[in-house]
């Protein structure tokens, strides 16, 4: 479904992403791990077509991002790391704008999508509130609602549980897991328990390179009895 081959991105003298390759199938939840600055967000931005790679390709459903970015973007739902939406708009206005851009042109179809997204992410109490007045947790959910609004076949989520309280985190994970049945999901995170809880595959990226690409069980088997963060620490020790 999502295939990434030899992606490279350089910022000035720093090579942020250095030949990252992997592929994800339908039904998979891929956990993207790595220290801060390892290149997780940059890779995701290249998959979603926001950044242009210096080399390599990313394809979604057989379509290359470089060839037809608009087609790829319409198949993806993307939750950016820290931008939930236009601050002065209300939740409803914002989601309605997204629905319109996503091709729901009649008022009734737009409303149906907005209601569905609001229902899934429990935004009903704040739907008339402007985004800038929301708490971090609600903002995050607005971003999530925006990403799944058009029921896309693939989701790219950059730190979806960041800023949520423990209860919200559990709820968010359950939601992501429930959607994985017929979707391809890539999510980045710092939280290793999250990987154990929901991911079917783990990629650890360090200094722009993939160092691990396996199932959580295989990762655990590298050092039986050890906690995942110890394994993570050992694998990414070079990236300080």
């Amino acid at each position: 479904m999502i295939e990434v081959k030899g992606l490279v991105k350089t910022y000035g003298a720093k090579r942020a992403v250095d030949g990252v390759s992997f592929s994800v199938c339908r039904g998979d939840i891929l956990g993207f791990l790595g220290p801060n600055g390892a290149g997780k967000s940059t890779t995701m931005k290249m998959i979603t077509g926001y950044l242009r790679p210096d080399a390599g390709t990313a394809t979604v459903d057989g379509i290359s991002v470089a060839d037809d970015p608009v087609a790829v973007k319409s198949k993806l739902g993307y939750l950016p790391e820290n931008s939930p939406g236009y601050p002065e708009m209300t939740v409803e206005e914002f989601l309605s704008f997204i629905a319109e851009v996503r091709g729901f042109r009649t008022k009734s179809s737009r409303l149906a999508q907005v209601d569905r997204a609001i229902g899934l992410t429990h935004l009903a109490p704040v739907r008339k509130q402007s985004i800038e007045t929301l708490s971090k947790g609600f903002k995050q959910r607005v971003g999530f609602a925006q990403a799944l609004l058009h029921n896309p076949p693939a989701l790219v989520l950059d730190e979806p549980t960041d800023g949520l309280d423990p209860n919200q985190k559990i709820e968010m994970r359950a939601l992501i897991k429930s959607m994985a049945v017929d979707k391809t999901i890539i999510l980045s995170t710092h939280i290793l328990e999250e990987v154990e809880a929901i991911c079917t595959r783990v990629i650890i990226i360090s200094r722009g390179k993939v160092v691990v690409d396996e199932t959580p069980a295989q990762l655990q088997a590298r050092q039986p009895g050890a906690r995942l963060d110890e394994i993570f620490r050992r694998l990414t020790a070079s990236d300080v």
Partner: protein, 240 residues
């Protein structure tokens, strides 16, 4: 191209979701009328025409259009919503045109709010409605020219202050080339044909004909090509 509509709607209504629209419209109206009453001698001229009102437009636009245009891209860049916008299924051209047209419509609204001035003149005397109509056309076209420059300057920085200053400087240059005081200075330094050539790039030179009731295709082409050129560079700057 269908994607221009949602971007346009969001941007245009965006002015009214914040105090910007009201502050801008009030300041624009008061400044315009104030200049013509107190500096231009609107009543003393004893003529049933809007010449004394529109003669200040190139100068009024110099500060007010950068104020309206500085946020177009800078704000998206600063708040990070640009990442969201460009991971939606729209092309850069759709986004640039949608935003530009929204801001241009907003400015046109500000210009048309001066119509009571025209009605006042009509009540007091017998103005030439043809001239008034062409002057409004010219003012709206000129606003588009200024705005194209401002939109371009806004796309190169995420700082709105820098965006404003760059826009004012860029507009000032195009304004000065046709200002009689400045061209007199140039005349003493350069041959006449060269000064004429330079003044062909000025807002004032091309706006003047409209205020005399002439719609010259050359003048229309000047403003249209200025808009096309700056918006093209705008797309290039954003895709860079």
């Amino acid at each position: 191209m269908r994607q221009i509509t949602p971007v346009f709607k969001r941007e245009f209504l965006g002015y009214f979701r914040s105090p910007i629209a009201y502050v801008f419209l009030v300041v624009f109206s008061i400044a315009g009328v104030g200049l013509s009453f107190f500096v231009g001698g609107f009543f003393e001229s004893n003529q049933a025409s809007l010449d004394r009102y529109f003669m200040f437009y190139p100068w009024l636009f110099l500060f007010l259009i950068p104020a309206a245009g500085m946020r177009l891209w800078s704000e998206e860049k600063r708040t990070g919503t640009i990442e969201l916008l460009f991971t939606l299924p729209i092309t850069t051209l759709d986004a640039v045109l949608g935003k530009f047209l929204a801001a241009w419509s907003f400015l046109s609204l500000a210009i048309l709010l001066s119509l009571p001035m025209a009605f006042t003149v009509a009540y007091l005397g017998h103005p030439d409605w043809g001239v008034i109509a062409t002057t409004y056309c010219g003012a709206i076209l000129m606003a588009g020219g200024y705005l194209g420059l401002c939109s371009l300057m806004s796309s190169v920085t995420k700082n709105q202050v820098i965006s404003f200053v760059l826009s004012v400087v860029a507009c000032l240059m195009l304004l000065f080339l046709g200002w009689s005081v400045f061209s007199n200075v140039l005349n003493s330094l350069f041959p006449v044909w060269f000064v004429d050539l330079l003044s062909n790039f000025s807002f004032i030179t091309h706006f003047d004909a409209f205020t005399k009731g002439i719609i010259d295709p050359k003048d229309v082409m000047f403003f249209v090509s200025l808009m096309a050129f700056t918006l093209f560079l705008n797309v290039v700057a954003l895709e860079r």
